[in-house]
């Protein structure tokens, strides 16, 4: 059983998705989805344990040997990502029942869970697989279900946002496919490990350059790197709240994973960063992303929009860490991947609770909420502080590594810019806090009750995780560090 964990990780949610149709009542479906996701979480925990103890797991699908068959290859990086995705998915699902009941019509609720599980399957698949074409397949699985999930949003603009995402996402996926195709043409293999061995021989050809360009641009579309981020704010803002919480914490992380996997493992460090001036490009776009998106966040009136822009800025931080091409820099990126998932998961779930009680998440609606929904607002405050990077929260840990990495490279001005960027976070977080705590309740809104426990429990699980992993950093730092080391080490 234990040897089959890698495939179980993907197959469990995949099989569970259609089974939802049999269970008719939405509540049962929810329970089933929750259990499925919990199972995936358990599996990912076991996988991580195994990988940390005994190194990379290689799993050949139905016994076909690579590179002919599809192989799942799970090292620390994959295992780390699998854990993040399945954990967030499970925690978010706890609140889904209550939230979905209000935001999605009853007849569509079953479909919601099916799509949710498919999307989860897609993300887990992208991370688990060691086959480039398989990546594309799972990317489409997760993306197509994502478009549908977003379009379920109560707001009619959700349709438009989903369409926008569909166009951009499809372009991204197509680019990736073209890139993979070109690589196949040059090497005759789709297995990533095999690619990394065969590519160096042909790396001077224009075709490989083209393939590389297509793959990178396609991934950057998916991860919403500035200036390819335009699809993200609306998609996050108008999707059902639960979907936003799930995607904000996971979807872009998967894309960051792909970026790391393709540059470090498939194309190899020396090709990725010497053939193309990628370092400077990523550094500049990362920093621009931090500043432009943070500034945009300051001017948002819809809090979901606000945090969506903040997400784009946080991706900027990850990309800056990535652009350092040092172990510390990559550690910072991976840490922030994990930490940002915790922050945004907590924040968007708290927003889902606000949505549940008030029905809107305009900033003006937050007036006086500090007294009306004290626990929800406290969660937003702590999540916000974590976003700023206050000590004893996870945000501080990733920022510490990021600054350390810039100093190691001798990039003093970058260190200053990163810190200035977090000042912008102070501004947009504080707008919410000030509105919630120091403005009187909106006239005529009556009394607003604290969010129900089904929200508070998952929100506070994530908030406590924000603090816990900000203090006990052993797990996250150790995994991130060893993953970064192995990426820089012998390579795959």
């Amino acid at each position: 059983m234990l040897t089959h964990l890698p495939i179980l990780q993907v197959i469990v949610p995949l099989m569970a998705a259609p089974l939802c149709l049999i269970l008719s009542r939405p509540r049962l479906v929810w329970l089933f989805a929750l259990i499925t996701s919990g199972l995936a979480f358990l599996i990912s925990g076991l996988i991580l344990q195994q990988v940390m103890a005994s190194g990379t797991i290689i799993y050949e699908l139905s016994g076909w040997q690579a590179p002919w068959g599809i192989e799942y290859r799970i090292d620390q990086l994959n295992a780390f990502l699998l854990l993040i995705i399945s954990a967030i998915s499970t925690v978010v699902l706890i609140a889904a029942d209550t939230s979905i009941k209000q935001e999605i019509p009853a007849e569509k609720q079953t479909y919601f869970y099916i799509l949710y599980l498919l999307s989860l399957t897609g993300m887990l698949g992208i991370v688990a697989t060691g086959d480039a074409f398989n990546v594309f397949v799972f990317l489409e699985v997760s993306s197509l279900s994502a478009y549908a999930l977003i379009s379920l949003g109560k707001d009619r603009r959700a349709l438009w946002a989903a369409f926008q995402y569909l166009i951009m996402g499809t372009i991204g996926a197509t680019f990736i496919l073209i890139g993979i195709g070109l690589m196949y043409q040059m090497t005759g293999t789709l297995n990533m490990h095999d690619l990394s061995i065969r590519l160096p021989a042909v790396e001077h050809t224009r075709t490989v350059f083209t393939a590389y360009a297509f793959v990178i641009v396609g991934i950057c579309l998916k991860l919403a790197l500035f200036p390819l981020h335009l699809w993200l704010p609306n998609a996050y803002a108008y999707a059902p709240s639960i979907v936003t919480a799930f995607f904000a914490a996971t979807a872009t992380k998967v894309a960051v994973y792909l970026l790391i996997r393709f540059t470090f493992s498939v194309f190899g460090l020396s090709f990725s960063f010497t053939a193309v001036p990628l370092q400077i490009l990523f550094l500049v776009f990362g920093l621009l992303g931090i500043f432009v998106a943070s500034t945009a966040a300051i001017y948002q009136t819809n809090v979901k929009h606000l945090f969506a822009y903040s997400s784009i800025a946080q991706i900027g931080y990850m990309i800056v860490g990535f652009s350092m091409t040092t172990i510390t820099g990559l550690t910072a990126t991976l840490l922030h991947l994990f930490n940002h998932a915790l922050m945004k998961g907590a924040l968007f779930l708290a927003l889902a609770a606000v949505m549940y009680r008030i029905g809107r998440v305009q900033l003006s609606q937050f007036q006086g909420l500090g007294r009306q929904m004290p626990l929800t607002m406290a969660a937003i405050v702590i999540g916000g502080l974590s976003l700023i990077g206050v000590p004893l929260t996870v945000g501080f840990v990733s920022k510490w590594y990021l600054i350390l990495a810039t100093l190691e490279n001798g990039w003093w001005p970058v260190a200053v810019l990163i810190l200035l960027g977090s000042l912008l976070a102070v501004v947009y977080v504080w707008r919410i806090i000030e509105t919630a705590y120091f403005k009187p309740l909106l006239a005529g809104s009556g009394t607003i009750k604290e969010a129900p426990l089904s929200f508070l429990i998952p929100v506070w699980i994530l908030v406590i995780a924000n603090i816990y992993f900000g203090i006990d950093t052993r797990l996250s730092v150790q995994v991130a560090q060893s993953a970064a080391q192995s990426l820089f080490g012998v390579g795959l």
């Binding site: 700023i388 000590p391 920022k399 510490w400 810190l419 000042l423 102070v426």
Partner: protein
Amino acid sequence: MNLSLQSMLQLSIILPMLTTLAIVVTGRKPNLREAVTITTCLALLYFTVNLYQGIKQGESIRAFWWELLPGLQISFSIEPLGILFALIASFLWLVTTVYAIGYMRSHEEQNQTRFYACFAIAIGSVMGIAFAENLFTLFIFYEVLTLSTYPLVTHAGTEKAKKGGRIYLGILLSTSIVFFLLAIVSTWFMAGTLDFKPGGVFASDVNTSVAGVVLLLFIFGIGKAAIMPFHRWLPAAMVAPTPVSALLHAVAVVKAGVFTVLKVCVFIFGIDLLAELPSTQFLLYLAGASVLLASLVAMRQDNLKARLAYSTVSQLGYITIGALLATSAGVIGGSMHIAMHAFGKITLFFCAGAILVAAHKSKISEMRGLGRQMPITMAAFFIASLSIIGVPPTGGTWSKWFLLMGTIEAEQWILMTVLVISSLLNIAYLLPVSLHAFFSTDKTSTAATGIKEAPLPSLIALCISTAGCLVLFIYPQQLYELASSILGTTGGAHGK
């Protein structure tokens, strides 16, 4: 109670934080709530006095909590400068609480529970700062102090208070995040440790121009020390209720700033390295400019609290100068001035609050003739003014004496002149307040209505702190011993 010194050290940080919970729980019963606060104050004072005795007997007191990242520890140890700061803060917290009970009730302030709760967190973090064994621990509590005092500044909830709060938080948080944090990471990167060590942590062959930049980052990053141009938060914080201005913005918060500056200068750079850095001289002049300019601005303020705030900015410059002089007299003078200025300035703020409560006046121009109505308050104001100026028979004499000695030792003639001129300016903006109150008559209002002092608890508090100014003149020995042992001890490296 038979507590070990180590547990006292930890309790002095934890207890105020726990008290917050008790305050929130007892919030509906004001008397009980205040009893909780007073009890904690007394316990805290008991702890710090005991810790002081322990330090005097040469014991090394250390506590380790947690290792956040490899090498980054949250740990505490006590050295003379820290215990000096902790003693002052815990004693004056007690006095301020007594004062606040009178003030807050007669002023009918809202949200008193939140007020006392945040106050307790703030004091807990001050203790954390005072006892921090390394820069990292200090930084954590430094940030907690900023965040916990924000609700106190915006206490009134008015538009003006919110604006003040924004400036307060904006400057303190941004300087600490951008400069202070960067300085800390750079120190970690260059020295490989953040522990406070006597003589500093940098290797002797460190690149002085890089270290000079790090020093700049530190001095600008420690916004709580209110060096110009990062002083604007202090006047902005004056929208807070007077007890907050008194304890936090004359004692705890600002002193946490200059305390950190002293710690960094003595235990991170070490005064030998400090004297060699190219940026030290520039920073000294900047601090000198801060002293003079703030005094000049203070003269033009008609609002009493604003005048006191600018006076604080100026006096903080003295302590920064003391630290940067890199001489033993400078460090002694600087650390003694922490105590002297604390007692003087808190008294002045107590008086300002008393005048507001009893006579409802906040403008200096309206205070003519007030001495007849509030003789005790105004007498206290007079004595405290003397201490700030630095003339006998008040404690301020000693610290200014050593600071001047320090400038002479370092042959900084310009700075010596600055200090002397600033003392003259102090006279010009502080003494007229009480003199006019006693010797001028108010022509606008008809007649003095007899004696009407502030509520009794406030009056008692005010007298205690005034007495402190005088006692420190007569018995400065203990303080001097503490201050002079800062450079001589093994400091924060106990057990290493």
